[in-house]
Symmetry: C2
DNA sequence: TAGATTTGCTTAGAGTCATTAAGGAAACAT
DNA sequence: ATGTTTCCTTAATGACTCTAAGCAAATCTA
């Protein structure tokens, strides 16, 4: 009766895997990153320690799986926000994506902080679920920017204005990932990305608490500065009040 | 024979404290953040575990002390770079400070990464050595900006252009810290700070590896963009080749 | 359907960590 | 010389990761 290749066992296993990740997430949210231990997760669901090793090779793999979940959830939220505007409305779609990213980040501080600070751990294999989900996340922006570029190219620096080293690095990047954008356009995109994502990361990692208690308007100002660099009209696309 | 108030015992104790922090740093550099445990540090210097509790109240305090060391070292390096130019040469002094910050960060990746990612841990008391050293670090920039502002005010947005929420937050910040700058000037300064420090943090936390292998030129470009916002002439102050 | 195999869990155990407690020996003070 | 402080040790508790050995039920095979 089971669908081709999906036995009852498989289903139960998937359910248990999901429950494990949910328990890990609950611990992260309620007691912080340090509380997400193999033992605590197992205890949380009435299993005893070593049982989890039938589902994850070790602590690190569990962490990676949960992180991948977060990436996927964030990606989905951003895509949904983007798709609430028609395909051609690049300004609104991009701004909505950016705002959805911060909204998710601050309503899921623990999760976002974990995603960002986890690279501190060991080296990462490029085919792990975590890396795959991370690339899908990047892809959301990259796709939208690519569409924007093909529909209405934004201003880019002249080729000779771009530092040769940067040019070479971006050439390698576009070649490796198959991005169909000229390096100058990628450079503009990444400049914006660094500003926006960097700001968000500093906020979530509490690096700006010394001066700010609410970075919502600062983020909004960042968007306002970035928009014209991508040839977008921020004011015309004002989607919501610039509050937190 | 001992100097007033500094007994032999005191000297020995200070030496041991220094040795402990040095051992902790060595472990951090050679084996990563996770290797900096009370036991490992003690083992490293031929002592056995609990002995360290005579010097630090616990693991967290040790970490805080080492972090404070890093802040102090970074601060000193930045001040030295700054002071290699005469007091009036604001452009060169500020750029030298910024460059010294990145140079230290990438030649001491483990240390800088630890400083940045450590806020993830527990809450911090405002009078810990770590916090004090952190404030001294901020102070380097704040002082230079203040001198720059008094000597040659840079362009600031009109009061009504500044978001009311941001204005209020910055008013509270300047009031609490005694910064002698108008909020508009603080806003410009912090905008620049966020861009520069955010970029550095993303670099050290490997958030940009997917596209860049050498962020030296990107950092330099960031400086070039920031300089005019502070009324400084980047090209006139070109201190060194914009390489990594 | 009987037997073999796989799967999901258990407990036991080794080795690590942080931290507290108790005690000995040396340094110091009076 | 005696008492006190300081530095360090070992012992012990309870947490953690992870491996090993083994039991029982589900699943597959013939």
């Amino acid at each position: 009766m089971a669908t081709q290749g999906v036995s009852r066992r498989d289903r139960v296993r998937q359910a248990t895997l999901a429950e494990i990740r949910a328990a890990a997430r609950r611990l992260l949210i309620e007691q912080g990153p340090a509380a997400v231990t193999i033992n605590a997760v197992a205890r949380e669901m009435g299993m005893s320690g070593p049982a989890l090793y039938h589902y994850f090779a070790g602590h690190e793999e569990l962490v990676g799986a949960v992180t991948a979940d977060f990436f996927r959830e964030l990606t989905a939220v951003m895509e949904a926000a983007r798709d609430s505007y028609p395909a051609g409305d690049h300004a609104r779609r991009l701004l909505a994506t950016c705002r959805a990213m911060r909204t998710w980040a601050i309503t899921h501080r623990a999760e976002f902080g974990w995603v960002f600070a986890s690279p501190i751990t060991s080296e990462r294999r490029p085919d792990s679920p975590r890396e795959l989900a991370g690339r899908d996340f990047e892809q959301v922006f990259l796709e939208e920017i690519t569409e924007l570029w093909t529909a209405r190219p934004f201003p880019v620096p002249a080729p000779e204005e771009l530092d040769p080293s940067i040019r070479e690095q971006l050439r390698a990047y576009t070649a490796a990932t198959g991005v169909g954008l000229p390096v100058e356009a990628v450079h503009v995109f990444l400049s914006c990305w660094i500003r926006l994502y960097g700001l968000l990361c500093m906020e979530v990692l509490n690096q700006l608490d010394f001066a700010y208690s609410d970075l919502g308007p600062v983020y909004e100002e960042c968007l306002r500065e970035i928009a014209p660099r991508l040839g977008l009209d921020y004011d015309a696309a004002a989607g919501r009040a610039p509050a937190s």
